[in-house]
């Protein structure tokens, strides 16, 4: 498994290609790759948003994400997992999070990526502060329900 917290804009598709290229033990073994990419919107709660600052708790973030992935790997038959998450100043259309899961069959890949994403939303210590088009700032106080 690999967990990366990055402070610069990243390309999720390059991250996946790079991971697959270097993970030689996966070659010929995976039949399914499930990919989730979360991207910043330019609106939230009915307001135009022009930027966002993502704060995190260094150390605890990585620890919680590794715990979540380990739980998932115990629950489903997974070959490998890559999670990348942005921190710092983020702008609309920037990728915020990548969850990529490799497994032999699609069921395990789909279920694991959903599980990791929902657990990340409730347990990984990240916080978003939005900069609205009106130049006012506000903390995001809750995440939207992933099952709506």
């Amino acid at each position: 498994m690999e967990v990366k917290i990055v402070s610069e804009c990243f390309d999720p598709w390059q991250e996946i290609q790079q991971f697959q290229k270097t993970a030689e033990d996966m070659r010929g073994k995976f039949g399914a790759t499930s990919v989730f990419v979360g991207t910043m919107r330019d609106f939230n709660e009915g307001d135009d948003v022009k930027g966002m600052m993502l704060e995190h708790y260094p150390g605890m973030t990585e620890k919680q994400l590794e715990n979540i992935i380990a739980e998932a790997m115990n629950k489903w038959r997974i070959i490998d997992v890559l999670v990348v998450h942005r921190v710092g100043d983020v702008f609309p259309d920037d990728p915020i999070v990548l969850v990529a899961v490799w497994s032999s069959h699609r069921g395990d890949a789909f279920d694991t990526s959903r599980y990791i994403m929902e657990a990340l939303k409730s347990k990984a210590p990240f916080w978003k502060k939005e900069l609205l088009a009106t130049d006012t700032e506000r903390w995001v106080d809750k995440n939207t329900d992933g099952y709506l």
Partner: protein, 77 residues
């Protein structure tokens, strides 16, 4: 015992600092640490706590050298 206290996000702005070191004599829980650090003020509702980077209940006991963190619900992803 010595405890490192950390605050994050909107709570950090509310208390006006990001971290501090506190000294305790005897047994202390996570809520005791909050109270000593914040002039006995009640912990705002919905605030979560972690000791050494693992989530804990507010009545959990702390040990010498622990890092205790307080923060609002997380909003990553």
């Amino acid at each position: 015992m010595s405890i490192k206290v950390r605050y994050f996000a909107s709570l950090k702005e509310e208390v006006g600092r990001s971290e501090e070191e506190l000294e305790f004599v005897g047994i202390a829980s996570v809520i005791d640490v909050w109270k000593q650090a914040n002039d006995d003020k009640a912990l705002p509702t919905n605030i979560l706590a972690a000791v050494n980077m693992e989530y804990v209940e507010l009545d959990s006991l702390v040990n010498d050298g622990d890092e205790v963190a307080y923060f609002p619900p997380v909003t990553g992803g």
